[in-house]
């Protein structure tokens, strides 16, 4: 039985991110790096897995998967790990991937860390970083069981090619019948904004008191050629902004170059989503607001005065 690292993601881009990191780790530990490809792909796409460093690709035909759910996903991974014997699983931590991680870990009696934000080697051990205590801390952890499952936050690593030779292997699996019946799949309302890759992100919170006033925040955002983001209250509670713009632990995690935070107190549930920003600017009337503790620049003041002034000054720069 060989030991190795197996990466898995529903999407090719996700797999390439994990392969890039997996390559670095597997080289140092002298382990085989393999990938699962969930569903039919053309030859060109399979080849690209090798270009990102996979030495082996397990091909799972779409016909075995149907509408992929976590139970099936976990069964697939369990079968491969049982058969081929890689002992470390790196799964992309989408909602599906995260659920699958827990399930497959239980099947394998493996230790599991979800939503990892960092992966390094400490001696011969994988050192995994994740937020703990609601985002107040970063916990560095080692999995002690032989089999290990780690789900890694999307976009934690940047995909980079490194030519390698690999071989593809078709896997025929007996997947038990699913117990969850999919009735319907529909897109959420909203324009599915891609705020995670925005270079500038203007986030707004409960400091804004009317939906109409969002106009000035939007104006600032478009002046900065940025995207609009928000806290959970504005989206889930008030329904002023669509959920695809919600930033934080139950929303999106963003890494903009510039984050402007407007009327946001800075509770950890939100700030986890902006920690990766290069520059954080906060505008809040409460001097004691926690947001100022993580800000590079801040203005203590009424957003209804500060934001229009800021718009005016930025416009003046352009003329």
């Amino acid at each position: 039985m060989t030991s190795g690292i197996l990466v898995s993601s529903e999407t090719d881009e996700g797999a390439f991110e994990l392969l890039t990191k997996g390559r670095e780790v597997s080289k140092q530990l002298n382990l085989e790096l393999s990938a699962v490809i969930l569903g039919d792909r053309d030859d060109r796409t399979v080849q690209s897995y090798f270009e990102y460093g996979a030495q082996k690709a397990f091909l799972i035909p779409s016909s075995s998967l149907g509408n992929l759910d976590a139970e099936t996903y976990a069964n697939v991974l369990h079968e491969i790990v049982k058969e081929a014997g890689p002992d470390t699983l790196l799964i992309r931590s989408t909602r599906l991937g995260k659920e699958t991680a827990g399930r497959v870990a239980q099947k394998l009696q493996a230790g599991c860390i979800t939503d990892a934000i960092g992966l390094t080697l400490k001696d011969q051990d994988l050192l995994v970083e994740r937020y703990a205590l609601g985002g107040n801390t970063i916990s560095s952890e080692i999995i002690k069981t032989k089999k290990k499952v780690v789900s890694i936050m999307p976009r934690t690593f940047e995909a980079q090619k490194a030519p390698a030779q690999g071989k593809a292997e078709k896997v025929d699996l007996m997947i038990p019948p699913r117990r969850i019946q999919l009735v319907e799949r529909k897109k959420k309302l909203g324009e599915s904004a891609n705020i995670e890759s925005a270079e500038t992100l203007v986030c707004v919170g409960k400091g804004i008191s009317n939906k109409e006033d969002l106009a000035m925040v939007s104006e600032l955002s478009s002046l900065l050629k940025g995207e609009l983001g928000c806290t959970r209250a504005l989206s889930s509670d008030y329904h002023w902004i669509s959920e695809d713009r919600m930033v934080g632990i139950s929303g999106k995690r963003c890494k903009p170059k510039l984050n402007v935070s407007i009327g946001i107190s800075g509770q950890i549930q939100h700030t986890v989503g902006i920690m990766g920003s290069k520059l954080i600017v906060a505008i809040n009337k409460d001097k004691e607001a926690p947001i100022f503790k993580i800000a590079d620049y801040g203005i203590v003041g009424d957003l209804y005065q500060v934001v229009p002034k800021l718009i005016e000054r930025i416009k003046a720069l352009g003329t």
Binding site: R103, K186, L258, Y297
Partner: protein, 255 residues
């Protein structure tokens, strides 16, 4: 439900970046309350018995009263010093054994993740141990006979699924607004049945839980290093905005 320290009140030691957890109040996490609220709503709509289950320290006895006041009929707590420092696998095993001891059940409702660790593994692992299906990230739930229909929140997509009870359902915070327990209920809560179990009562070998059995070794747990500039401007709006614009231009963030 999981008892956690009040995360808003955590202070970080400036020199070592260690979190200070001593003396903090404990409470149930928000999403755990969403799970309980949904259970109580189901009880009100279809009729059911709601049992609150939690593994934790002796302080649970106080915390569980709030859950009983919110509408649970009965509390079951597993309090055993050996459980302290359990990893998610051991906690899931303890919870699953307790679910079996409670007896016949239709639904095991959990939050999508705990307030402190948010690992989201507990529901998945319980479902595996009990060998029942799981429907995760649920924001709408209805029941007809033994079939549940759920709307799941999967990033940009909503999925409508059906499944047969018994099963595990994990809920997101969108599913409801947990009620505040009315005073009369708070007073009545302490008279509701509360069972307290040890590992022995559940037939669990203490060697399978706690730090010794943990699959996870925590190497360090510190606040991230603070490398922010922390330049906060106060005073006249025109002046502060001017300073900010100048600073952003120097940073190259504004053209």
């Amino acid at each position: 439900m999981k008892q956690v320290v009040d995360l808003q009140q955590i202070r970080i030691k400036r020199d070592t970046r260690e979190p200070v957890l001593e003396g903090l109040p404990v409470l149930f996490g928000d999403m755990d309350k969403n799970a309980l609220e949904e259970a109580v709503k189901i009880k009100e709509k279809y009729g059911a018995k709601v049992t609150v289950l939690s593994v934790g320290s002796a302080k649970l006895k106080d915390t569980i009263l709030e859950a009983l006041a919110m509408g649970a009929d009965e509390g079951c707590i597993v309090v055993d010093p050996a459980c302290e420092g359990s990893d998610t696998g051991a906690s899931a095993l303890t919870l699953a054994k307790a679910v079996e001891k409670i007896g016949a059940y239709d639904l095991v409702l959990v939050g999508e993740g705990s307030a402190d660790n948010y690992s989201g593994q507990i529901g998945s692992r319980i479902a595996e141990i009990l060998n029942i299906p799981q429907v995760t990230y649920v924001r709408e739930l209805s029941i007809e006979g033994t079939t549940i229909t759920a709307v799941r929140d999967i990033e940009a997509v909503l999925e409508v699924v059906k499944a047969q009870m018994p099963l595990v359902v994990s809920v997101t915070s969108e599913i409801n607004k947990p009620r505040r327990a009315p005073l009369a209920q708070i007073l009545r809560a302490s008279r509701k049945p509360l069972k307290s179990w040890t590992l022995n009562d559940l037939g669990i070998d203490p060697g399978k839980v706690g730090p010794v059995a943990s699959a996870i070794q925590v190497v360090s747990n510190l606040a991230p290093p603070q490398e922010r500039k922390g330049m906060i401007f106060e005073g006249d709006v025109g002046e502060t905005v001017g300073k900010l614009v100048d600073a952003l231009r120097k940073e190259g963030a504004l053209q």
